[in-house]
Amino acid sequence: MNMSLELLLATPFIGGLLTYIGGKVHRWVRNIFAVLFSLLTLGEMSLFYNTTFKGDVWGSLFGSKLILQTNPITWLFLLIVTSISLLVIVFSVDDMKHEEDHIVLDSYYMQLLFVEGAMIGIVLAGDLITFFMFWEIMSWTSYFLIVHGGKKSMDAGYKYIIMSIIGAYAMFVAIAMIYSKAHSLVYPDVALVLSQSSPTFTIWIIILLGVGFFVKAAVMPLHTWLPDAHSEAPSPVSPLLSGVLIKMGAYGLFIIFYGLMSANLAKNIMPSIFSTPVLLYIVQWLAALSIVLATFLAIMQEDAKRLLAYSSISQIGYVVLGLATGTSLGVAGGLFHALNHAIFKSLLFLAVGAVIYRTGTRNLSDLGGLVKKMPFTFVALVVGIIALAGVPPLNGFVSKWMIYEALLQKKEVFLLIMAFVGSTGAFLYVYRLVHSIFLGQLSQKHENVKDVPILMQIPMWVLVIATVIYGIFPGLAMDVIVKGMKMFGFAPIAYNLYGFPQGSTMGALKVINIASVLMISFVVAWIFFLLFSKSRKVSQYDNYAAGQVVTPELKYNYSFGFYMSFGRVIKPIFKISIERIYNYWVDAAKIFGDYYMRRVYTGNLETYNSYIVIVVTIAAAAVLLGGKIW
């Protein structure tokens, strides 16, 4: 059994190489290999359901053991990683067909599998070196995936990789600091060192690690790479980025908050606000700000994928907000939301990807009325947006509800208000998405659009089903989460297959009842509706236009600037742009650096020789003067 953890980690990497080689034989060999190996990974992963392994040494470096481990929490993240990767690869087969350069495609699949492997490595890591190593591998492999998306994606990818490197190096400093104290980077040893060190040291460690995770999880103010990267990446890559990759940041936060630094430790070394250690409280506020501001930004977007990208920032805010509460319910909610967000956001990105595949645009105001042409994609998108908006009975609702309850229990009302506002704002942008793409007037150039091929539909079907199942039976996920959290010292929360009894929460929830009553009332209303005379279908041009006649040439659609009036309300907020601030400083540093570099390396031999004289003088002076002091 121990071997199989390493096997699980190795499978996608080996698979990636074989896929690349397979591509030399034939493109179908490559496609089948890619699907097969991700399927294999999923299969191997499922063996570890609810099992725990502590420490499977796979090597050692500089005197620190390298360890792979697994527990139910890691299983949850493994599930996210492997399942979404598989679906993405299946989706890619048709979606990426247009790419003619076969070597680009070969390496594309290889990198998909590499990213998957790297993320598995991150999750399975039992020590910080393994963690950091796979973290970096994930960064650069995913960079190559992003830049597959064409001209604009290059700038996006560049920004992504630079911010990733910065984040990773912040972690690096922390890891090295821990190493200097512990001489071992295995999680229990690290936890021991943190609990015995001075509070300042521990707090610095947490901040530095936190910066790395915040960059990846795109928590404000370190989110600026995400909207570009997620929207410019190829359609099948976006779900992987938004659904899975940013969850690695959330996983990292979980590990530092509850794996390396137990909640008690945090309480002991720093003051608490609302019974939350102050550092976690700040994290909560950053998460809440991400929720609200990203929601506002998402509402104002005109580009479907950018909208979803901002929505990801907002939703990851819920995950982080839940994780940072420190209560069983909140953390469970955060973890559950990580899973749910992976499911519905991947679904949404795939659905939008399907639309892009058929229409070639993701500009919301160019689309419209596609519901008649792509009914299945419409259903997928609607399920996704309902889940995203947190409306029962789909999965997004349950996890958000848990987070709300947790905040309410802790009386962290201001955060709760922000969480609520973000959720209501989500109604606005998700409606915008579905309206501008599928509703409204069908433009003439999309008259011949068909629904996507079956290989692209299958991943969406799977995700739709998952959305419903995890919505109605949250107990399925809770089995894993609660069991895993017990290992991290959390009190178990009361739950059953369908929801939560009143007790550990302030109110009860039984999603199956909501779902079934909704279904019954729907059927009743429908039957009632059918009782009356049948309706006659009319064309979209047979429409009220205040006496005018709507002709196909006339664009009779409200899509651009859908929430313009709301935009006027929130305009003052957007006078400050975090990205502009960053750009300002980067530009300033560039100008400064350029100026001084020119001053130093003048290309003039006299200058250079004078440097030599200066150095000799300094050295000699140091000797002569230093001699007196030594």
Binding site: F397, L408, L416, Q502, M506, N513, Y563
Partner: protein, 295 residues
């Protein structure tokens, strides 16, 4: 078991009846305020029936037709979660927070349907509706939080029970109650918040393409909507009621006061409506929330 089935059938009917009765009374009172005689009191029933039995119905597609159905289904679902005069029905399956989102199901369905009508007026209407919702949602969640904290529960039945013996939230948290009233106003789309349908601007907005039985369904769902919003207010602030008559009277009182303001106010611009809600109601609700927190 029989009782359960009876409740399951009865509750939506009662809710519909109450909502419809308010629609009837409203037209009469409004007419009187405007010094008109007004239509006969059962005019809305005529309207609904006439629309439902119309022979020629037009539809712009499946989603267009599903819109009103989902709107009603969502409304019926919400009815079950609001304690009605002692019957708590499904309050054990979803609490106040869940209710906030359950109430959104109907509106979302309606929005989808209206969007499918391919008419920009409908789209603008929905855009306004959602914007307005975003506006009043902020004070709404604040007062919901205040009430939940006040009674240390989010279970609506428990909240109602805690207000027994005249110990209403209206007395203990008057500021929240006032904000709740203003929010209910916006939620019902009454003047001055009838931005969504605004006949002179967007030709009744979302409903522009609806007619016949579809419009009839929308009117039915509007009746439910009136019931849901006011019943929720009564449960939260006026202590619910132990029998249906008192419940009805309380609701009527609320509705009556509402109409009194209704007809004398001009319509807001949409962004002004949001600004309005994010200003005073929010501040007042926050003050009330802080009072609860400190207490």
């Amino acid at each position: 078991m029989v009782k359960m089935i009876l409740i399951a059938i009865g509750a939506p009917l009662v809710a519909f009846a109450i909502g419809l009765s308010f629609m009837m009374i409203k037209r009469k009172i409004v007419a009187r305020i405007q010094r008109r005689y007004g239509p006969t009191i059962i005019q809305p029933i005529y309207d609904v029936l006439k629309l439902l039995v119309k022979e020629d119905n037009i539809s712009h597609g499946v989603i267009f037709s599903l819109g009103p159905i989902i709107a009603i289904a969502g409304s019926i679902l919400a009815v079950f979660f609001i304690p009605m005069a002692g019957f708590s029905m499904l309050t054990g399956s979803g609490d106040l927070i869940a209710l906030l989102y359950i109430m959104a199901i109907g509106s979302l369905g309606m929005a989808l349907g209206a969007g499918d009508s391919a008419n920009p007026n409908a789209s603008i209407g929905i855009s306004r509706a959602l914007t307005l919702m975003f506006g009043y949602d902020l004070p709404l969640v604040i007062i919901v939080i205040s009430v939940a904290l006040q009674y240390h529960t989010t279970n609506l039945s428990d909240i109602v029970a805690a207000q027994a013996n005249g110990n209403w939230t209206l007395w203990t948290l008057p500021l929240s109650a006032i904000v709740g009233f203003v929010v209910t106003y916006g939620a019902l789309g009454e003047h001055p918040f009838d931005i969504v349908t605004a006949p002179h601007e967007v030709a009744t907005g979302p409903m522009v393409e609806y007619g016949g039985k579809h419009l009839g369904f929308l009117m039915i769902s509007h009746a439910f909507h009136i019931y849901i919003e006011i019943a929720l207010f009564v449960d939260l602030f006026l202590g619910g009621a132990s029998n249906i008559l008192i419940f009805y009277l309380k609701m009527f009182a609320v509705f009556f006061i509402m109409i009194m303001f209704d007809e004398v106010l001009p319509r807001f611009k949409i962004d002004d409506a949001v600004r309005f809600y994010w200003k005073w109601p929010t501040v007042v609700a926050l003050i009330s929330l802080i009072i609860v927190l400190v207490k």
